[in-house]
């Protein structure tokens, strides 16, 4: 598939989702309303992904879709992924500044220098707010967490699998390197079973995050060489352009060191997370089984809403 054909395939699937009123255009690529049916499927995927981790008895926590800017800066998001970031700006000026802002608006001029950084940023990955909350020593038997929430990444696209505002279900393990890696192995077993049960084809790869620039090339290669990120990719647009729907990540001591988290034994904590892209799984289901949910196989719906 050529790049032009791929864009057409993206637009075609998005048009089908619009036509079936599953997604509702908002005027910006990657930002859509969702129908009750879309949400029902998405919640079904989330419930199944959550249920898979119940055996670990995780502490379940929800966070708002924003993180403190201090966390956003501490996790090196601007160093690694400046192209995706979403710090929140607001207005803190006086009357004179406000007149200038309104003047710019009326003249349709750029007003970005009339605004200033607030103390929050849009959450880029829903596990980020967890780590600063774990500062200090983990209690005995602690170290399993689950969270779900909205994330933002600035990557406008006609591809309905690539949204600017999307939800993730994440399971997180904090502990010794062995704890985290053996936990990740349990997910390497579990994830294919879930994807198979809902009728999604996939393949598995060691992958990298989209680190920015030349420095990012080194980061990406290091990530792959160290096998830190495993992705389950679903070929919605053909085998050559599969989309990552689930990933299992090992962060080494990155967050443990950054936020001063130690294990119950007092060692610097390592961490890992398993993330389900809920809209991606949902769109993949509509692509695989059609836009009419009443026609989906019982084997699939019995997993999504048992």
């Amino acid at each position: 598939m050529s790049p032009e054909e791929l864009v057409l395939a993206h637009a075609d699937l998005r048009d089908r989702l619009f036509a079936a009123k599953l997604l509702v255009p908002c005027g910006v690529d990657g930002l859509y309303g969702r129908s009750a049916t879309f949400e029902k499927v998405l919640n079904g995927v989330d419930a199944a992904a959550y249920a898979l981790g119940i055996v670990d008895d995780p502490i379940t926590i929800s966070f708002p879709p924003m993180i403190p800017r201090s966390t956003f800066e501490a996790v090196d998001y601007l160093r690694n992924f400046p192209q995706l970031c979403g710090p929140v700006f607001t207005f803190t000026g006086d009357n004179k500044d406000h007149s200038e802002l309104v003047h710019r608006l009326d003249e349709h001029e750029d007003y970005s220098d009339c605004l200033s950084l607030s103390e929050v940023a849009l959450t880029p990955a829903c596990c980020y707010p967890l780590y600063p909350s774990l500062v200090g020593q983990l209690g005995d038997g602690d170290g399993w967490y689950s969270t779900m929430g909205y994330c933002f990444r600035h990557e406008p696209s006609v591809d309905p699998m690539r949204l600017q505002a999307f939800q993730q279900r994440e399971h997180i393990r904090v502990g010794t390197p062995d704890d985290v890696l053996s936990w990740r192995e349990t997910w390497v077993d579990r994830i294919p079973k879930l994807l198979e049960s809902i009728g999604l084809e996939f393949r598995t790869e060691f992958a990298n995050d989209p680190f920015f620039g030349r420095a990012g090339r080194l980061m990406s290669r290091s990530q792959i060489e160290q096998e830190l990120k495993i992705e389950w990719l679903v070929p919605v647009f053909g085998e050559d352009h599969p989309t990552a729907c689930v990933s299992a990540n090992y962060h080494q001591n990155h967050f443990g060191e950054l936020f001063g988290i130690s294990t119950a034994d007092g060692a610097e904590a390592h961490s890992g997370c398993v993330g389900f892209g809920l809209e991606r799984c949902t769109v993949a289901l509509f692509a695989a089984h059609g836009t009419d949910v009443s026609m989906w196989p019982d084997s699939v719906t019995s997993v999504l809403w048992p």
């Binding site: 030349r214 420095a215 090339r217 080194l218 290669r221 990530q223």
Partner: protein
Amino acid sequence: MSERTTTIRTILAKHGKLNGSADTIADDKSLYSAGLTSHASVNVMLALEDEFDIEFPERMLTRSTFETVANLRLALDSLLGEESD
């Protein structure tokens, strides 16, 4: 010790966040096992590029280039030519 190797060690001391001393680590000892993180290796890369006014080509942006003092020296030699004594 060659001037280049000395510069590599100076930059490692400043940006490598190694557990031990960057002055005494053996040429062929893994810097990763001495605590060099991916982020720190990027900072070492940028500092070397600044210092020698070079750009590491794509093929050199791998973990192995930054694995040891000897590998860094080889990479610099191939970009700058052999060092004259």
